[in-house]
């Protein structure tokens, strides 16, 4: 059976779960937006996340840039990579069979990972955490570092900003319109390719932020660090309801809670941690295939 724990310990795990979950959610948003619009699983998304982490590592550790600049440069770099992926690997295949686009996606992901091994070397590198973010303090009996609170705060703020962009601006309107009917939207005079590029840019920027925060929380970077979080974040997007941004955050949080809490209560399961997401995917597909907050995506005839 599981172990008994004090309230303080529970709160500690709770905060961990919110932090991890909001990171999953932030990555999941990029998946859900691209899937909502193109019905494409952007396998390279997890690698953009990895690039974000690496860029901030090089900017701050190798080039000794101040953190603020380093973070901005990393976000810009990763966003550019996301745009390039769309332009080079996905746009030529817009009218090709879906399986071609999927193969291209997995090919790009494979390429970025292997190129990173050659360029950055396959060795994991330690990330230096800014001391300011790591100065421990305690509320009640719960010991905390500022980073643990900063991660969910930034994640939720960015998600809220994105929602505003999608529901209150013309570009957002165009995005929602494309996800309903890409051809009609084109006929309405919307530059579809530009809106799709914007979607990739936004998703990549969020993935980069998640990557940076991930590198701070688990202080190391390596070329394959994006595969498992990316895989889990996609499942979070499906769990929350693919196509829905609040759903992506909710799915991410759910997954964060399942992972942290099941290990907190059943430490013996820690070897199987990466399997929980998969079980969650199978369960939601069996019980509610549209996800917690999703609408049914209609078949396009």
């Amino acid at each position: 059976m599981g172990i008994k724990m004090s309230f303080d310990m529970f709160m500690q795990h709770f905060i961990n779960a919110v932090g991890l979950g909001s990171l999953y959610g932030l990555i999941a948003i990029g998946y859900t937006m691209v899937y909502g619009i193109l019905r494409l699983i952007n396998f390279a998304h997890g690698d953009i996340f990895m690039l974000g982490a690496y860029f901030v590592f090089f900017a701050t550790v190798s080039y000794k840039l101040p953190w603020a600049f380093g973070v901005l440069a990393a976000i810009a770099g990763a966003t550019l990579c996301g745009l390039l992926v769309d332009r080079i690997a996905y746009r030529p295949l817009r009218n090709a069979p879906r399986i071609s686009a999927l193969i291209s996606a997995i090919g790009v992901s494979f390429f970025i990972e292997n190129l990173s091994v050659v360029v950055f070397s396959g060795m994991p590198r330690p990330v230096v955490q800014p001391p300011l973010l790591m100065k421990a303090f305690s509320i009640g009996g719960v010991r905390l570092v500022p980073l643990a609170l900063l991660v969910p705060a930034i994640s939720f703020a960015l998600a809220a900003g994105l929602l505003w962009l999608i529901y209150r601006t013309r570009s957002g309107l165009a995005m929602r319109s494309i996800s309903h009917d890409i051809e009609t939207t084109r006929l309405m005079g919307v530059s579809v390719d530009r809106i799709i590029a914007l979607t990739f840019a936004l998703g990549s920027a969020l993935a980069a932020v998640a990557g940076i925060m991930w590198a701070l929380r688990y202080p190391r970077v390596e070329p394959f660090m994006g595969i498992i979080p990316g895989f889990k974040a996609f499942i979070a997007a499906v769990f929350g309801g693919i196509g829905s941004i609040p759903g992506a955050m909710l799915g991410g949080l759910s997954l964060g809670f399942v992972e942290i809490m099941s290990i907190a209560f059943f430490p013996k399961l820690s070897g199987y941690r990466d399997a929980f997401a998969f079980i969650l995917l199978i369960l939601i597909l069996l019980v509610k295939p549209t996800g917690l907050m999703g609408e049914k995506l209609e078949d396009k005839i």
Partner: protein, 357 residues
């Protein structure tokens, strides 16, 4: 709707049968010569080609014939390799190999001949494939890629953690090298025969219908869900069989062998050969297997004209993945497209391999 290979059938059936028989005998003789004259390294590559062809064919059944996207073949190979190895290893080998934890008692004395272990490997992989396919394909298969990718990782997690059964991360060593030219090409011949018969049967037509237009297929009364599950399960059987042959060729298996990279190489075989072409998967297996070996030179230091160029570790896979993208963007149909080899096309067109290059 009959397959593209129906063109040459009819008046030339006898001639084609004779030609096929002659070609098979010539090929078998060539293999026999090779197995007694070539060194171990070359023989290993020749064996690998056959195994990769089996794996490529089984993945093509999922990708090219039915239009599903799966990334789990490495996982199904792992299941096959472990099932086969556990059945072949002797109780003495097992007792000495399990160092960290003792082997599960029920497993110690289980033994089977090689051929039986191959069948068991295929069946076990097919069973797990079926288990994954049931919930995931209910939705038409959009999430199959991600679910199988996850499954393949979970198989590795399970193998690493279930030490009493799998010996954990230490893997299994000293598997008897049962896979020789006779065995690997024998299996390939059986798989090839089954694939050709399958694709010429009505079920082959059903698969193509589901791939080309799911809604139209459903209107015709085809149960697309069942068709997909069946095709996927059959494909996984091939994955398990290939994995078992691989394990008995290399004689050592561990969880690290079955990473996603393994699936990428198979994907490359199917894409380069041509999605939906049986001939293509064979051609793809030859091309990709030899290319992967040949590409090792970029990782070794070379001296050109007195200048020493250091090898770049990992460069092989960069070139390899770049090729995958280039092929899928610029030549989506691969080498064969959906065409198949046929004798009459060979005589008529005069171009090798039965199609335009």
């Amino acid at each position: 709707m009959s397959g593209p290979d129906a063109i040459g059938e009819g008046n030339n059936k006898t001639r084609d049968a004779v030609l096929t028989a002659v070609a098979a005998v010539v090929f078998a003789a060539a293999l026999w010569l090779a197995s007694s004259n070539l060194d171990g390294y070359k023989l290993r590559i020749i064996n690998l080609i056959a195994i990769n062809a089996i794996l490529g064919l089984s993945l093509n059944l999922i990708y090219g014939m039915t239009g599903m996207f799966s990334l789990g073949h490495a996982g199904f190979m792992a299941i096959g390799a472990y099932v086969s190895a556990l059945l072949i290893l002797s109780p003495e080998q097992k007792t000495t190999m399990w160092i960290l934890e003792p082997i599960a008692p029920w497993l110690l004395n289980v033994r089977a001949p090689f051929v039986v272990s191959l069948a068991a490997a295929g069946l076990a992989a097919a069973f797990f494939g079926w288990l994954v396919a049931l919930p995931v394909l209910r939705l038409g298969g959009d999430y199959l890629g991600i679910a199988t990718l996850g499954f393949s990782e979970i198989i590795r997690i399970l193998i690493t953690n279930l030490t009493p059964i799998t010996n954990g991360s230490l893997g299994l060593k000293g598997i008897p090298a049962h896979t020789d030219i006779r065995m690997s090409y024998g299996c390939l011949a059986v798989v090839l025969f089954c694939m050709v018969r399958l694709m010429r049967s009505n079920f082959g037509n059903v698969l193509r219908a589901v791939r080309d237009d799911e809604i139209a297929a459903r209107t015709m009364g085809i149960d697309t869900f069942r068709t997909r599950v069946l095709a996927f399960t059959l494909g996984c059987f091939g994955g398990g069989l290939g994995g078992a042959l691989m394990g008995n060729l290399i004689t050592t298996i561990d969880p690290k062998m079955f990473m996603i990279t393994q699936t990428y190489s198979l994907l490359m075989i199917v894409v380069v050969g041509g999605l939906g072409s049986i001939t293509g998967s064979i051609v793809g297996a030859v091309v990709v297997t030899t290319m992967l070996e040949w590409l090792r030179f970029v990782e070794n230091p070379v001296t050109i004209g007195g200048v020493n160029i250091p090898g770049i570790p990992g460069m092989r896979m960069v070139i390899f993945s770049l090729l995958l993208i280039v092929v899928i963007i610029f030549r989506r149909e691969g080498i064969m497209g959906m065409r198949e080899f046929s004798w009459s096309r060979l005589f008529r067109g005069g171009s090798g391999g039965g199609g335009r290059r």
